[in-house]
Amino acid sequence: MRSLVGCLTLILAALPVMAQTLPLNPRKPTGFSTIEQRYVYAPPDEGHFEFPLFPGSGTTGELLIEEPEMCNGSASARVDYSKSEGTVRVRVHYDGLPYRMSAAFQEDRSTPWNQFPVSVTEGKWQIWFVGHIFDKYSIFYYDALTGILIGNEYDVEVEDLPPSAIPVVLPVLHMMQLTPHFESDPNTLVADVDITKDYHQLLDAEGSGGVFVAYIPKQLCKPDELTLYYTDNGLPVDIAMDWDNILDSIHAGYGFALATSLEPDPKPAYLKSRDNIMIGWGGGYPFNVPDGYTSNTLTGALSLRETCETHEALRFPPSIYDFCGPVE
């Protein structure tokens, strides 16, 4: 048992540093280019930007939907924002959005923390508004006796935690359900979405503050073996995203994204505020993947797209570290 405790101290010395103040912290990024003497991307307060969406733009562990009508089609998004009017308007146009498609994983992808459907029959679509790509942090509780992940601060009651529970601060992605279910015209496969939200309080279609998504260790002894984790039931309204902070995040180089997920209709209660991990059209701003390339979902690195078919993304690899080793 001694070795387990020893290794946990080692890891805990490593993980929470993410939240510590850094030794040096030069200026907060402004998004203003010294070289061009202007805002190169997304000016503050008032502005708009456009970007294309591409098939199969999901991430690790997800089902990447790439159907022939998508590879032959196109989709694009436009975001208009106005601080003076207090609005963020998102318009998305799809040409080649599969109609009532069905899809399935080879096996159940549910985790001890989140349930996911194995298959979807005649699904509809939803858009996810991804405002913060791992530039926010949240507390996750782990059991110091076993090293096992208990859950996020918004999913557990502190009073109910075992005495051995320890808080670890880890990065999260903050997103929200932008739309209720929608679908394309069955004849043309065209769909248009036009939705306006509150600039300072971006609430999801259910009226909640959205959802945190994290790629975090399941078990502290194997800190590089990650799992996908979603908070359930919607985040509190008072931590909802604010467009000002999203602009800061774009200016600091983290970026913004939209993703379109295939959803069961009706959605089961467990998926109320989060997405089903089957992803079709998606794209990011300011940088995007031109048509013809596909990205490694683990590293984000690109290579030529050689096929067009719905497939399962890479999964998180097993750990190469095991700090607990065989317990004495």
Binding site: A14, Q20, K28, A252, G253, P290, L304, L314, P317
Partner: protein, 436 residues
């Protein structure tokens, strides 16, 4: 009403040729840009002195490093050029790919080899620290790899710094003027302003950080992983020389343990606390003139026509224009518009985009959006001054034929056009490339 004068076509051609070649005021290789003001020439000179300066351990070089001066590597045929030891100074990126995931191997000094240490140098007599030698073990690890990178020349980089993101991105992806197999994608990085925690698993006692700032289109480095000269001055100062600054504030370490006390001879804090050395060096690189064309006769002109006709220029883009107003960040924190870099047309023979060159060129090292197979189109200006070409310096001399054979992936169709065309046409392309 104006009078039409008729001239023989050959004369028009000759005159155009002469004027186009005479257009840029001439500068010898390594000289400052023509047209700088006296104050700008002072900035160039102050930067040049830092660029050629050999730093001592007391001034912050090391403890682990790849050189004591920028010109240890960037020197041939003049300061700012390539490796005096041809490939000896190649920089190694190393790591492990396990189940498609890239591990930087911080535990053993990754992801960049430091091939020297200050052990035994003046002022560091007590320091005991072995240089890193990943080549002795990495490739025997499952999934282990080393990516060896040759030193590129740095002439004319101010013009590249002065490209808008839009200009570079306008050429990316499928375009009507390109062969259908040729795409191209930009890499991305930031203009440094701040730092934030890096999302990487490590057992370090001090957090690893990444730089943050306005996100910009990449253009520098073999993987276009860097977007501006200021960053590509801060970064090698720390990464190659061990001279830390507020943005790259960690010394390179041989593993996860702290460096031996006796090797930390430069005192507390970072070595270039106000990033002054970095700012001066970036000014030097920005204000150095591009390489001039060599001899251009009819063969070279025809060679360029063939080069375009067979699709080489779909990636090796001949002409680009810089932004209307390019602002140089100066060491005093002010910015100044540089007329010599604003609204100027130049001829780098690169689109500064990444291209998938196929599995044979996979160096395994992801950098930003560049996977192992993606490489930045190498600017070909000044190629005639090189001893070796290709990212690892593995092609001796300017052997265009061999270089073309290494172009797979997006360029495979262009390679087969090359292989199917007559030797006269290949000869002409060679002549053209050798004139750059």
């Amino acid at each position: 009403m104006h009078k039409q004068t008729k001239q023989p076509l050959s004369l028009v051609f000759a005159v155009t040729l002469v004027t186009s070649l005479a257009l840029p005021a001439s500068a010898d290789l390594g000289d400052p840009l023509p047209g700088l003001t006296p104050a700008q020439l002072d900035l160039w000179e102050a930067g040049r002195q830092e660029f050629v300066r050999t730093f001592t351990p007391a001034e912050g070089v090391g403890p682990l490093m790849n050189g004591k001066s920028c010109i240890d590597c960037h020197q041939v045929p003049v300061d700012g050029g390539t490796d005096p030891l041809i490939t000896e100074n190649n920089v190694f990126q190393f790591g492990v790919i396990f189940e498609h995931q890239f591990y930087q191997l911080h535990e053993v000094g990754g992801p960049m080899r430091q091939r020297m240490s200050i052990e035994g140098m003046e002022g560091a007599e007590q320091c005991v620290l072995a240089p890193e030698a990943p080549e002795t073990f990495v490739e025997s690890l499952p999934g282990g790899f080393i990516s060896s990178r040759n030193t590129p020349p740095l002439f004319g980089l101010g013009l590249v710094d002065a490209l808008t993101d839009k200009k570079i991105n306008a050429w990316s992806g499928r375009r009507p003027w390109k062969r259908s197999s040729i795409l191209g994608v930009s890499n991305q990085s930031v203009e440094v302003e701040g730092i934030a925690p890096q999302l990487v698993f490590t057992l370090d006692q001090v957090p690893r950080t990444q730089v943050t700032g306005p996100v910009r289109t990449g253009r520098f480095g073999w993987k276009a992983h860097n977007s501006n000269l200021y960053q590509f001055s801060l970064d090698p100062l720390q990464g190659e020389l061990g001279l830390t600054n507020p943005f790259f504030h960690r010394e390179s370490e041989p593993g996860i343990g702290p460096l031996p006390e006796d090797c930390l001879v430069a005192g507390e804090g970072v070595n270039d606390p106000d990033s002054q050395i970095a700012a001066r060096i970036s000014n030097f690189m920005a204000l150095t003139a591009p390489p001039e064309r060599g001899h251009v006769g009819l063969q070279e002109i025809l060679g360029e026509v063939v080069f375009h006709a067979i699709g080489c220029a779909d990636c090796h883009r001949s002409s680009l224009r810089t932004m209307k107003d390019y602002h140089l960040g100066k060491p005093d924190g002010e910015v100044e518009r540089i007329a010599a870099l604003s609204n100027k047309v130049f001829h780098p023979y690169s689109d500064f985009l990444l291209h998938d060159l196929g599995a044979a060129n996979d160096d395994q090292r992801p950098m930003g959006r560049a996977s192992g197979r993606l490489w930045r189109t190498t600017p070909m200006w000044g190629i005639r001054h090189k001893d070796v070409i290709w990212h690892d310096g593995s092609i001796e001399g300017v052997d265009v034929g061999e270089a073309v054979q290494r172009h797979g992936g997006e360029a495979a169709s262009v390679r087969s056009t090359w292989n199917n065309m007559g030797s006269l046409l290949r000869y002409l392309v060679n002549k053209f490339v050798e004139s750059l």
